[in-house]
């Protein structure tokens, strides 16, 4: 966990990619869940942030 947080602070690729991946997966789950319309409403914002973050952080150093 400490290693992960350090990686985030130092802008290392792996931890940031992990955060972006989690955001994308959560966004897709929000988009396709059958429970709350309000969750569906915010799903695209979460996917978009995750995808942009993924594109940016894939250029960070390992």
């Amino acid at each position: 966990m400490r290693h992960f947080l350090e990686g985030l602070l130092l802008f290392r690729r792996s931890p940031w990619e992990a955060v972006a991946s989690i955001l994308i997966i959560v966004g897709v789950l929000m988009l396709m869940q059958p429970f709350y319309l309000v969750v569906f409403t915010y799903s695209f914002s979460v996917i978009l942030v995750g995808t942009l973050m993924y594109l940016i952080c894939s250029h960070f150093r390992d």
Partner: protein, 315 residues
């Protein structure tokens, strides 16, 4: 012959052109060769994408080209993401996507595992299994509507033969509970052979020596399966899931032919809904926003997936 042609070409090239080309560095020459492809990609892929993103912020309607185009900010996105019908469409897409992928992976891998054993008629059986994949989705959709007919359909007859139920007592396409499964069954029937072929390629790439070494170590069949077969086929399996996931996210023809999105809008997948908004209601700006949402979703998922695939391959 070829040398003569090249010599002739060199002789015919005007000195002004040949001097200019021979003066180019390797890097410039590489750019010269790659530039037609880049220009084609820009025209065919990038420009439509950028144009779609622009249109998604407008109220443009393609059937009213003379009307003033207004910039509507994020209103199209807001309308889509608060629409309960589109929400339902996304749920139908999710049901279709998850069910087909799970079924196709399980059945495809099982079939590949069985076909990989050496037995008589192996090649003929592989050819027969692969046949559905070669048919047109429109044809498949059409003949499965006949198979699903409650009165004369072979599918209903088979179910009634095994269960004893009256064949005309249920309609796979007309029933609200059965219709989503009707499209899943047809897609699974059609595309399981594709997953099987990919898995078969994975299974055949495993060297026999690994199994022989495991036999020497007295590893059981079960242990060999979980520690050799599954890990070595996993990259192939993930590739199959990626291909089928992207294909099924934009599934259109098969479902339109089979159920037309019905009953009601129960089997209306996002691609069918998008087509209706764009080319039946002619809401171009609105449907562009819809397309952007679907694109970003698939792009995001594909990015994660490709990363996971590379990780598995590197292992």
């Amino acid at each position: 012959m070829l040398q003569a042609f090249i010599d002739k070409l060199v002789q015919k090239t005007p000195p002004s052109v040949s001097n200019r080309v021979s003066g180019l560095s390797d890097k410039k020459l590489a750019w010269l060769f790659v530039s037609p492809t880049i220009l084609l990609l820009l025209a065919v892929n990038i420009f439509p994408l950028v144009w779609t993103i622009y249109l998604s912020f407008t109220n443009y309607r393609v059937n009213r080209p003379n009307r003033d185009v207004k910039w509507v900010d994020l209103r199209n996105y807001e309308r889509i993401l608060t629409d309960s019908d589109i929400w339902q469409t996304m749920q139908a897409t999710a049901h279709f996507l998850v069910s087909t992928i799970v079924l196709q992976v399980v059945l495809g891998f099982t079939l590949a595992f069985l076909i990989n054993k050496k037995f008589k008629g192996n090649d003929l059986l592989t050819t027969l299994i692969v046949l559905p994949m070669m048919l047109s989705p429109a044809v498949v959709g059409n003949f499965w509507t006949f198979l699903y007919q409650p009165q004369i359909g072979l599918f209903n007859y088979m179910i009634s033969f095994f269960s004893g139920a009256d064949p005309s007592s249920f309609s796979m396409i007309g029933d609200v509970h059965l219709a989503p499964w009707a499209i899943v069954i047809v897609d699974t029937w059609m595309w399981t052979p594709f997953v099987m072929l990919i898995c078969l390629a994975g299974l055949r790439s495993i060297p026999d020596s690994i199994y022989e070494a495991a036999e020497c170590d007295r590893a059981s069949q079960w242990r060999q399966f979980w520690t050799i077969t599954v890990p070595m086929v996993l990259p192939f399996l993930m590739l199959a899931v990626l291909f089928r996931g992207i294909e099924n996210f934009k599934m259109f023809d098969l479902v339109v032919q089979l159920t037309g999105g019905g009953p009601g809008s129960l089997t209306t997948l996002s691609s069918i809904d998008l087509k209706r908004e764009a080319f039946e209601k002619w809401k171009t700006g609105y449907s562009s926003a819809y397309a952007v949402i679907l694109f970003v979703t698939v792009f995001g998922l594909a990015s994660i997936y490709v990363k996971a695939l590379n990780k598995v391959k590197d292992r």
